[in-house]
Symmetry: C2
Subunit: 483 residues, 2 copies
């Protein structure tokens, strides 16, 4: 390591301008006003020159894109340059340098898990008079109803939202992602904390602070309605890409007070998965079959609700679930992907990008689709259109006029297939080639719903169609699998 | 049988007004100008009083809704009232009274099959220079390339349309349905023929006439692109409901000149299915697995293209295919429906309703769906909206305003689920109950694409939302399965 701590190029310039050096406690102010405090970490020489990495009070490293940084202020100069040492922040609390997994265990060997509730059947009771289901349970009531969870982990709970998932909106995705980020980093958005005092005074997140326990969470369970759970899991996958701990969305197809409820088994499966899993990533945990003997953990960008009522309604598209939790508690990787190539991989550091732009539309083409509807979408100021085309990724000639107009207006157009399974291939037939010439971008085997969510996220990060295209084609959170 | 030939009520009044009696050769003029000639058949006393049944020159019975009849003219009075006798039309040609299946066999025991081509990969060749696929084969070239077909049946061929299926439009469905109807009835739309002269002079359909063979077809194969084959099969199922012979749509995922092509196996499977099948109905025949050992015959309203490229891309939703044709040629009913409850059943007679109204839209709801897009659809004069809701059949509260407006405007609203599998259940959650109160009609386990096509068809037959609703909830062609 050289005396610039491995930094070079753009990142080094930003640090030099601030007079910051590796080992310094810094407060970084983002261009959007958010602030993050941490200990400035070294970089490896072969890393890119566009990220600054800090170690947060929680012990996690966060990589921050230099383009997002407005200002870096140095809080207290430190002599430490070898951040590998556990006592680097000078207080003997070595949680900051231990791997999160082990740090998250208490003296009884239990990990800490945070349960966030957003509503849905999993937090509901059935009205036996009408047969209708109504939302009544708080997250802690839900916990109380499943005592087995306490045997697996120490669980904190919070209610973030209380909606059935058909009413979950993109704004809710933002709320949820911010809350998760706060609980992982120990910081509230817009707040700043200083790591240099031992990582204790700066925990602005109320739950983490009130718990009086600074061990970081080993994972977060999100109780969520099943209707749109896969849309939410996709957004969290993109917005929180690189998150070092697992976030597991769990729903129920039957309310917890029914004998056939899948709420308990799914929650227990998710907790066991977190207990055993050392990587990060966003997952959906639901029944893996019609029995109670297996909970499937699906990658958050590869999963879809494929049945209205079955308990094993969720399926990994184009493969098997990433992990299976057996009734006995064993966790094993999915047979079709034992080396995890199709799972989210940690990036150069956790660098959340919690934003979206709703000016995106999903257009499902069908014979008789009225091109005027696409015209209206273009005129309404949409920045991106995701087509659910037919077969390998086609729309009929009748729509070409509007497709061309969208291209000319700088609307990003991405192509997925309403077949759901398989991948687009737009060079095989004339139609596909024509559409590509008009600017339509084939999105491989990205699931239409995931492509929609990703486009909302990409549109908030990019200024133009070309910028959106670049993000859409980058495999951010295992949303595309290798052919 | 009484002396009114079993007719009563409305049907009897129409016949009495025309002075027509059972056994008469009649020419029926529809309100839309179409004419049909045939022999007036008796009815069973327990049949309804709203259909008049004639035996066409092809030997098939056609039931005609009395509401569609403008005029009946009697061509020649006949003494025959017992239509069961083979020589009923007085010329010794007994084809007209034999069951179609046996009548369709020639002296070598072979049936006649008609192959209609509409284009698609099945009628294409690959360009080995570019790897692209281009449409080149006529129906007869296609036949020539598969000599095995001649061993199964005597096959006539015609080109009806030449389009890849992403460019097949509802207008093409009409063209195809009319051609099938003409070939089955031996009459062109708007033409009329008289059965009484021996059933020979009146065959207005040119192919049937030019073939010089008046044996009716045992079945019709439609070669079709796979992208939208399931939309076309749905339309034919509704428009030609009650058709006494099978219509089998066949496509290919690989062009016929490739070693891995599925064109030949699918066509041969379809021909074998027709050779063995005595009922009617519209089916889709494609690979039943990744090997060549089974061709699956799916009910035309229960099938969906669920993979972009696999040869077994088509799947029966919510069950197994209706029939399987093994490599050895054996045809067996699907295991999950041995008694055929989920297959199309003959109605009170074949009474085609070949019409559609394209003022129908499919709306796939998702978090962030812009209600203004639904507003535009309503304002554009749509008569029906099919929602692809989430889960059991929901859309978010954000859309309620436009849903209520659509209801007030008399737009029919039907609910399906984007889960594809399973069925809607809108009384379980508040959202569903709210939507039903605004007029949204749950459509059971109807597949969204099928519901869209059915709504186009229903809108052309009904004057208002209530009329559309009635047709949508009637199980016309096995599009809904029993719970």
């Amino acid at each position: 390591m050289n005396d610039t701590g491995g930094y070079r190029g753009a990142a080094l310039r930003v640090l030099n301008d601030a007079g910051a050096a590796v080992g310094d406690s810094v407060v970084i102010t983002y261009k959007d006003g958010t602030r993050r405090a941490g200990l400035l970490m070294p970089r490896y020489e072969h890393d890119d020159d566009t990220h600054v990495v800090t170690k947060l009070s929680s012990g996690y490293n966060a990589g921050i894109d230099v383009d997002r940084i407005r200002e870096i202020s140095v809080d207290r100069r430190s002599a430490v340059t070898d951040i590998g040492r556990g006592d680097s922040n000078g207080n003997g609390d070595d949680a900051a340098a231990e791997p999160p997994g082990s740090a998250a265990r208490n003296r009884a060997g239990e990990k800490r898990i945070l349960l966030l509730s957003t509503g849905g059947t999993i937090a509901s009771r059935i009205d036996y008079r009408t047969g209708a289901v109504t939302p009544v349970l708080s997250a802690s009531e839900l916990l109380d109803s499943i005592p087995e969870l306490a045997d697996i982990a120490e669980i904190d709970s919070e209610v973030v939202i209380s909606e059935y998932s058909e009413n979950i909106m993109p704004e809710h995705w933002l709320t949820l992602a911010r809350r998760i980020d706060e609980r992982v980093t120990g910081l509230g958005a817009g707040d700043a904390a200083v790591v240099g005092d031992g990582g204790k005074s700066g925990t602005a997140g109320d739950a983490a602070a009130s718990a009086g326990d600074i061990r970081p969470y080993a994972g977060i369970i999100v109780a969520h309605g099943t209707d749109t759970m896969h849309y939410t899991s996709a957004f969290l996958s993109f917005a929180l890409a690189g998150l070092p701990i697992p976030v597991v969305l769990v729903g129920a197809q039957r309310s917890p007070d029914r004998a056939s409820s899948d709420a308990a088994t799914n929650l227990i499966g998710a907790a066991r998965f977190i207990d055993s899993h050392n990587g990060g990533g966003v997952y959906v945990a639901m029944h893996g079959g019609s029995g109670d003997d297996e909970i499937a953990c699906h990658v958050g960008t590869r999963v879809r609700k494929n049945h209205t009522s079955r308990r094993d309604a969720f399926e990994t598209i184009g493969g098997r679930p990433a992990f299976a939790v057996s009734a006995g508690g064993g966790v094993s990787p999915g047979a079709s992907d034992p080396d995890g190539a199709g799972r989210p991989r940690p990036g150069p550091g956790y660098s959340p990008k919690i934003s979206l732009d709703q000016r995106v539309a999903l257009v499902k083409y069908h014979p008789g689709y009225d091109p005027a509807h696409l015209g209206h979408i273009i005129d309404s100021g949409c920045r991106a259109v995701i087509f659910e085309g037919t077969g390998l990724g086609h729309v009929g000639r009748a729509v070409y006029g509007q497709v061309a107009r969208a291209g000319e207006r700088g609307v990003f157009m991405g192509m997925t297939s309403q077949c759901i399974d398989g991948r687009t291939a737009m060079t095989v037939y004339e139609s596909g080639r024509d559409l590509m010439e008009m600017g339509v971008v084939p999105l491989g085997d990205m699931i239409p719903e995931v492509a929609l969510v990703k486009a909302m996220w990409a549109a908030s990060l990019a200024e133009d169609s070309e910028g959106i295209r670049r993000i859409m084609l980058e495999n951010v959170a295992a949303e595309m699998t290798a052919r």
